[in-house]
C-alpha cells in the first residue's frame, strides 16, 4: 500500500480533491457533514505533500527527467498528439505545491460561515485546488494549460455567487482578464507544439527547442503578458482589487496566497527555462516593471479606504519584489524571489483571514470606521500586529529575508532601480503602521465596545501561518534548501546563455 | 451580309423573351407581370428549339407554363383581396436605384467576362436530327437514374407537405 502511494503520489495529490468534491455532491445536504468532509479531503493532500517534502532530494538540480525533476509520473493520455499526464516536481514547484496544499485546509476552515449552496461551494473549491496543484506539478504543456484554465470556472462562480455586493462585475472582469491572457498563451503553446520536430508538448524537450525557434522574442512577450496578467504586473492589475474586495474571505485567501504565484511560477517555468537568451535580454524590462509594481502598489495601498483593497494593493507591491528578484539574474536574487513567493503566500493569507475575522464582526471594512480594537480584542490585535509587521518586512520575520535577498541580488545588476525599490520598504512601513494605528490603537470606538475576540476556529486557522512567519524568519533553511539547486540551475542557464 | 430567315426568327424570339422581363420587373400590377412572365416562358421554349432541345421546349411549355404559371395565377387570385393590388407593387425609389446599380455592375462585369473567355468547343456538337428524346430517355434511365428516383421521392414529400400546410387553412374555414 505504502509504495503504491509512494510512486503515485503526485497523481493522488492532484486528483483526490476533485474526487472528494464529486463525493461531496452526493452527500446529504447537512451543513456540518459537508464542512467536515471537505476539511478532511483537503487534509489528505496536505499530508501527502508533507511526505513529498520529506522525500525530496535537495542535492540534485536540472530540468531533465533523471536529474532535478523528482516523483516523476508519466502516463500517456492522448496518443494522437502524444499528450501525456507528465507530472514531476522540482525545487521551484515543491514549495508552491506545499504552500497550496497547506492553505486549502485553512481556507476550508475560514469558509465555515458559508451557508447558501454549500455543496456547490465546496465542490467548486476542491476543483479549484485540483487546478492549482495541477499547474504546479504539470510538466506537459497541454496539462499545464488545462489546469491553468480549469481554475477559471470555479473562481468565476466562487466570486460571482458567494461574493460581495458588486460581485458580478468583479467576476466577469476576472474571467475576461485571465481568459485573454490564457488564450494568448494557447496560441504560443500550439505554435511551439507545431515547431517541435516530433510534435510534442513535453516541456523538457520544448526547453531544448526554445533557442532554435523563430518568432522567439514574440512568443516570449506573449507568454510574459499572459503570465503578467496573473501576477499582476502594473498595467494589467486593475482586476485584482475588485476581485479581492468582492470575493468571500476564503477565496481571496486562495487568490492572494496561490493564484498570484502562478503567474511568476509560469514565468520561471516557461519564460526562464525555455527561452533563456530572450530572458537575458529582457531582464532589465522585468526589473523596471518590478520596481513600478513595488512603488505603485505601495502608494495606492496608502490611499485606500477599504481594508481588503489595501491588502490587495499591498500584494501587488510584494509581488513586485518577486519580479525584481527574478530580473536580478543573481543566485541570491532569484532565491529571494522564489522565497518571497512562498513568504508572501503565507503573509497575504494571514492578512486576508484577519480581514475576514473583522468583517464577520463589523460587516464593513472601512479602515476609519474602527478604532482602539486592541483594547477590546487583545489576542486578535497581537496576531494582526504580527501579520502587519511581517507584511512590512520586519527583520526576524519571514518577508524580510526574501525582500533583503531580492534587493541584495538585484543591487548587483541595477543599482538605481533597487535603490528606488528599497525606498518602497519605507512606504510599506508607513501604510502598515497607519492602518494599525487607525484600527487598533487610539481610543476605543464605542460602536465596537462589544467586539468579540478571536474564537477557536479562527485561531486554529491563523496559528500555523503565525508560526511559519516567525520560524521562517529565524530559520529559513527548510524552504530555502528546497529551491537552491534549481535556482542555481536556472541562474546558470540564463547567465550562461546571455554572454 | 445576308440575314437568313433563321436569324430573324432568332432575334424576334430573343426580343419576345427579354421585353416582357422588364414588365415583370417594373409593372405596378401583379397580374400584368404574371402575364408578362407567360410570354417570357414562351420565348424561352422557343429558344430551346434553336438549341435542338425539342423535348426540353415541350417540358418547358408543359411544366413551367402549365404548372408553375398556373399556380402563380391561383396564388394571385386566391390571395388578391379587394384594394391593394395597386399599392403592393410600389417600392421606394431609392431602393430601386440601388438595386438597379448593383444589377448593372453585375451585368457589365459578367458581360465582359463572358465575351473574353474562350469557350472550348469539345466535340463539335453532335446534332440530333430526329429529336433528342430518345437520347435523353436513355441517358436519364441509365446514368441519371438515381436523381430521377430521388426526384420522385422529393415530389411526394412536397406534395404531402404542401397539402398539410395549405390544408390547415381549408379546414380552418370549416370548423
Amino acid at each position: 500500500m505504502f509504495d503504491f502511494i509512494q510512486n503515485h503520489i503526485l497523481t493522488l495529490i492532484i486528483f483526490i480533491p476533485v474526487i472528494g468534491g464529486l463525493i461531496i455532491l452526493f452527500l446529504p445536504e447537512r451543513h456540518n457533514l459537508i464542512r467536515w468532509s471537505s476539511l478532511i479531503i483537503t487534509l489528505i493532500p496536505f499530508t501527502l505533500s508533507i511526505m513529498l517534502y520529506a522525500g525530496f532530494d535537495r542535492s540534485v538540480s536540472g530540468f531533465s527527467y533523471p536529474g532535478g525533476l523528482q516523483f516523476v509520473e508519466r502516463y500517456s493520455w492522448i496518443q494522437a498528439f502524444n499528450i501525456e499526464l507528465f507530472l514531476g516536481v522540482d525545487g521551484l514547484s515543491m514549495p508552491m505545491a506545499l504552500l497550496c496544499t497547506m492553505l486549502c485546509p485553512l481556507c476550508v476552515l475560514a469558509s465555515w460561515g458559508i451557508d447558501k449552496g454549500i455543496k456547490g461551494y465546496f465542490f467548486l473549491f476542491l476543483l479549484l485546488e485540483t487546478g492549482m496543484i495541477g499547474v504546479f506539478c504539470a510538466l506537459d504543456f497541454f496539462l499545464f494549460f488545462i489546469s491553468w484554465e480549469v481554475m477559471l470556472l470555479p473562481m468565476y462562480f466562487l466570486i460571482g455567487v458567494w461574493g460581495g455586493p458588486d460581485r458580478e462585475y468583479a467576476a466577469i472582469k476576472f474571467y475576461i482578464y485571465t481568459l485573454i491572457g490564457s488564450l494568448m498563451m494557447l496560441l504560443v503553446i500550439i505554435y511551439m507544439y507545431l515547431s517541435a520536430t516530433p510534435h510534442t508538448f513535453d516541456m523538457t524537450r520544448l526547453a531544448q527547442l526554445g533557442a532554435g525557434m523563430e518568432f522567439k522574442t514574440l512568443c516570449w512577450i506573449v507568454l510574459f503578458i499572459g503570465f503578467a496578467i496573473k501576477v499582476p504586473v502594473f498595467p494589467f492589475h486593475t482586476w485584482l482589487p475588485d476581485a479581492h474586495v468582492e470575493a468571500p474571505t476564503a477565496i481571496s485567501v486562495i487568490l492572494a496566497g496561490v493564484l498570484l504565484k502562478m503567474g511568476t511560477y509560469g514565468m520561471l517555468r516557461v519564460n526562464y527555462m525555455m527561452f533563456p537568451d530572450v530572458t537575458f535580454k529582457m531582464s532589465m524590462f522585468i526589473a523596471v516593471l518590478g520596481m513600478i509594481n513595488i512603488i505603485y502598489g505601495a502608494f495606492c495601498a496608502m490611499a485606500q479606504k477599504d481594508l481588503k483593497r489595501l491588502v490587495a494593493y499591498s500584494s501587488i507591491s510584494h509581488m513586485g519584489y518577486v519580479l525584481l528578484g527574478m530580473a536580478s539574474l543573481t543566485e541570491e536574487g532569484l532565491n529571494g524571489a522564489v522565497l518571497q513567493m512562498f513568504n508572501h503566500g503565507v503573509v497575504a493569507a494571514m492578512l486576508f483571514l484577519l480581514v475576514g475575522v473583522i468583517y464577520d464582526r463589523a460587516h464593513h471594512r472601512r479602515i476609519d470606521g474602527f478604532g482602539g480594537i486592541a483594547s477590546v480584542a487583545p489576542n486578535y490585535a497581537v496576531i494582526s500586529f504580527l501579520a502587519f509587521f511581517a507584511a512590512l518586512g520586519l527583520p526576524g520575520l519571514n518577508s524580510f529575508i526574501s525582500e533583503a535577498l531580492v534587493l541584495l541580488g538585484a543591487f548587483q545588476k541595477y543599482r538605481i532601480i533597487t535603490a528606488v525599490s528599497a525606498t518602497g520598504v519605507i512606504i510599506t512601513a508607513a501604510y502598515c503602521l497607519w492602518t494599525i494605528q487607525r484600527i487598533f490603537l487610539g481610543k476605543l470606538n464605542e460602536k465596537y465596545a462589544v467586539f468579540p475576540d478571536i474564537n477557536a476556529r479562527e485561531f486554529i486557522s491563523l496559528l500555523p501561518l503565525g508560526i511559519l512567519v516567525i520560524v521562517l524568519g529565524i530559520y529559513p533553511h527548510p524552504i530555502l534548501a528546497l529551491m537552491k539547486p534549481t535556482v542555481r540551475f536556472i541562474n546558470n542557464l540564463i547567465t550562461g546563455s546571455g554572454i | 451580309m445576308n440575314i437568313e430567315i433563321k436569324e430573324i426568327v432568332f432575334i424576334s424570339i430573343v426580343l419576345l423573351t427579354i421585353a416582357p422581363c422588364s414588365v415583370v420587373a417594373f409593372s405596378r400590377n401583379i397580374l400584368y407581370s404574371a402575364f408578362a412572365l407567360f410570354f417570357t416562358f414562351i420565348g424561352t421554349s422557343g429558344l430551346y428549339f434553336f438549341l435542338d432541345a425539342d423535348f426540353l421546349a415541350i417540358v418547358q411549355l408543359a411544366v413551367y407554363i402549365g404548372g408553375v404559371l398556373v399556380l402563380l395565377l391561383f396564388a394571385i387570385l386566391l390571395t388578391k383581396n379587394i384594394d391593394d393590388i395597386k399599392k403592393t407593387n410600389t417600392i421606394s425609389l431609392r431602393r430601386s436605384i440601388t438595386a438597379g446599380i448593383t444589377v448593372l455592375v453585375l451585368f457589365f462585369s459578367l458581360f465582359f467576362v463572358f465575351l473574353s473567355t474562350g469557350w472550348t468547343p469539345l466535340n463539335g456538337g453532335a446534332a440530333y436530327p430526329n429529336g433528342t428524346i430518345h437520347e435523353l430517355g436513355r441517358l436519364i434511365l441509365s446514368k441519371y437514374l438515381l436523381p430521377f428516383e430521388i426526384a420522385s421521392l422529393l415530389l411526394l414529400a412536397v406534395l404531402i407537405g404542401s397539402l398539410v400546410l395549405a390544408g390547415k387553412t381549408v379546414r380552418q374555414r370549416e370548423d
Partner: protein
C-alpha cells in the same frame, strides 16, 4: 459501378426510402393511431435507428472510396461519418419533439411531420455523399424544401409561417444563384462529375470565369451553413420555428452543408502532393475566400449576439459564429483541417443540442424564450439547479473552457490553422478575439441564472415523471461533453478516418 450493382451499397438510403413509403401508407390507413404525436415520433425514431444501424455496419468495410450509381454518389469516410451525424441529429429531433410540450400540442398532423423529417434526413444522407453536380443540387433542394415546410409546420404562433416564407424566398434566391453558378461551371468544364471537373481543370487552366462560378456556387452553400453574407435568414427562422426543429436546423443541415463544402472544394479544387501537402488546383484561390468569409462570419455572429434579449436568437447568432469557427478549419487547406471540421461538428452537436434541450425544458415551464425569465433559475429549486448546471456545462463548452469538449474542438481548429504548411496567423488572432467576445454574452446568461439573487416571481415545478426522457437525454449529452473534454481519443480516432479522404 452500374446502377444495379450499387444497390447493395445503397442499403441505408434505400431502406429509409422504403420506410418512408410504408410509413405513409400505414399513416393513411390508421389515421387515428398516427394522430397521437408521441406514436409517430417513436415510429420515426425506430426507422431512423434502423437506418443508423445499417449505415454503421454496412459501410465500414471498404477502406477507400466507392463511386456508385455511375458517379452519382461516392461512399467514403466523409460520407460515412457525416451520414451518422445527420441521422443522429434527426433522431434527436424526434426525441426533442416528443419531449417538448410546445411541439406536441401545436402539431395537428404528427404523421406528416414525421414523414417530412424522414425525407429531410434522406435528403441530407444523399447530399453528404453526392459527387455529381446534379445529384448535389437535387439533394440540396430536397433538404431545403423539406426544411421550409417543417419550419412553417405549426400554426400555433404566426411567427412560424412568416419564418418559413422568408426561409423559402431567401433559399429559393440562393439556390437559383447556385444553379446559375453550376451552369457556368458545367459550361467551363463540360462535365457534371466531380472527378470529370477535377480532370479538366488539372489539364487546362481556367480563367476568371472559374472563380466567378465558384462565387455563385458558394452562395448556395454559404446559405446552407449561414455564413456571413448569406446568414440573414438564420435569426428569424431560428426564432420562428419550433424549438426542436431550430435545434435540428442548427446542427443537421449545417453539418451536411459543411460536408458538401469540403467535398466540393477539397475533391475538385485540391491536389494532394507528397507528404500530405495540399495545393490549390486551378487559378482560383478559394482558401483565401473561405478565410475572409470565416473571419467575417465569426466576428458578425459574436458581435450581433452581444445584444440579444431572446435566447433562441442568441443561440442563432452563436451558431453563425460557430459556423465561422468551422469555416476557419476548412480554409486551412490541411488534412487536419478536414478532420477538425468533423471533430468540431460532433462536439458542436453535443453542446448545441444540449443547450436547446435546456431551452425547451425552460420554455415548457415559462413558455417564453426571453433571457430575463432565466433570472435566478439555479436557486429556485432542485430542478432549477439541475437545469441551470446542465446549461452551465453546455455554455462553458460553447465558450471553450478546458474541462469541456468545446475547448478541445477549438484546440483542433487552432491547431489546423497554425499548421506549418500554410499557417494563417491573422485568422488565429481573430478567432481568439472572437472567443473573448463570445465569453461576454454566454457569461451574461450564466450571470442571470446564477449570480443575480433577485428572484423573479414565477415558481418552477418539480421533477415530474413524464419528462424523465428529457432529463436523461440532457444528462447524457452533458456527460459526453465532459468525457470528450477530458479523454477524447476515441472521437479523435473516428475523425482521423477522414485522413485518406483526398487521394
Amino acid at each position: 459501378m452500374g446502377n444495379l450493382e450499387s444497390i447493395r451499397y445503397f442499403a441505408p438510403e434505400g431502406f429509409l426510402s422504403v420506410f418512408i413509403i410504408t410509413f405513409l401508407i400505414a399513416g393513411l390507413l390508421r389515421r387515428k393511431t398516427f394522430s397521437k404525436s408521441s406514436f409517430s415520433c417513436i415510429a420515426g425514431t425506430a426507422g431512423l435507428f434502423l437506418t443508423l444501424i445499417l449505415e454503421l455496419c454496412i459501410n465500414t468495410g471498404y477502406p477507400d472510396a466507392i463511386v456508385i450509381f455511375s458517379g452519382m454518389l461516392k461512399l467514403d469516410a466523409l460520407s460515412h461519418l457525416f451520414k451518422i451525424l445527420c441521422i443522429s441529429s434527426s433522431i434527436l429531433l424526434f426525441l426533442f419533439s416528443y419531449s417538448s410540450r410546445e411541439t406536441s400540442d401545436s402539431l395537428k398532423e404528427p404523421m406528416e411531420y414525421a414523414l417530412l423529417i424522414l425525407s429531410c434526413t434522406l435528403g441530407m444522407m444523399l447530399l453528404v455523399s453526392s459527387s455529381n453536380l446534379l445529384m448535389m443540387y437535387l439533394s440540396l433542394e430536397f433538404l431545403s424544401l423539406t426544411a421550409y415546410m417543417l419550419t412553417g409546420f405549426t400554426d400555433k404562433n404566426e411567427k412560424a409561417s412568416e419564418a418559413a416564407m422568408k426561409y423559402l424566398l431567401y433559399g429559393g434566391a440562393a439556390s437559383g444563384i447556385m444553379a446559375y453558378g453550376l451552369s457556368l461551371l458545367y459550361g467551363i468544364t463540360g462535365s457534371l462529375d466531380y472527378s470529370g471537373i477535377h480532370r479538366f481543370i488539372a489539364e487546362n487552366n481556367s480563367g476568371i470565369i472559374l472563380y466567378i462560378s465558384m462565387i455563385f456556387i458558394f452562395t448556395g452553400l454559404g446559405f446552407k451553413i449561414a455564413a456571413f453574407p448569406f446568414h440573414a435568414w438564420c435569426p428569424d427562422v431560428y426564432e420562428g420555428a419550433l424549438t426542436p426543429f431550430t435545434a435540428f436546423l442548427s446542427v443537421g443541415p449545417k453539418a451536411a452543408g459543411f460536408a458538401v463544402i469540403i467535398r466540393f472544394f477539397y475533391q475538385i479544387f485540391t491536389v494532394r502532393g507528397e507528404g500530405d501537402v495540399l495545393t490549390v488546383l486551378g487559378s482560383a484561390d478559394w482558401p483565401a475566400m473561405l478565410a475572409i468569409i470565416s473571419a467575417l462570419t465569426m466576428t458578425f455572429g459574436n458581435l450581433a449576439a452581444l445584444r440579444q434579449k431572446n435566447i433562441k436568437r442568441l443561440l442563432a447568432y452563436s451558431s453563425i459564429a460557430h459556423a465561422g469557427y468551422m469555416l476557419m478549419a476548412a480554409a486551412s487547406l490541411t488534412i487536419l483541417g478536414i478532420v477538425s471540421v468533423f471533430f468540431y461538428l460532433s462536439v458542436y452537436f453535443l453542446m448545441n443540442f444540449g443547450a436547446f434541450l435546456v431551452v425547451i425544458a425552460v420554455s415548457n415551464e415559462f413558455n417564453s424564450d426571453e433571457i430575463e425569465d432565466y433570472e435566478g433559475l439555479a436557486w429556485k429549486n432542485s430542478k432549477g439547479a439541475f437545469l441551470a448546471s446542465m446549461f452551465a456545462v453546455f455554455l462553458f463548452s460553447l465558450i471553450g473552457t478546458p474541462p469541456f469538449a468545446g475547448f478541445i474542438g477549438k484546440f483542433y481548429l487552432l491547431l489546423s490553422i497554425l499548421q506549418p504548411e500554410n499557417p494563417i496567423y491573422w485568422l488565429a488572432v481573430v478567432a481568439v478575439i472572437n472567443i473573448i467576445i463570445s465569453l461576454y454574452y454566454y457569461a451574461r446568461i450564466l450571470k442571470t441564472m446564477f449570480l443575480s439573487r433577485r428572484q423573479k416571481g414565477t415558481a418552477l415545478s418539480g421533477f415530474e415523471r413524464g419528462q424523465y426522457l428529457q432529463y436523461s437525454l440532457m444528462a447524457g449529452l452533458a456527460l459526453f461533453s465532459i468525457i470528450f473534454g477530458i479523454y477524447w481519443s476515441p472521437l479523435n480516432n473516428i475523425s482521423m478516418l477522414l485522413e485518406n479522404f483526398i487521394h
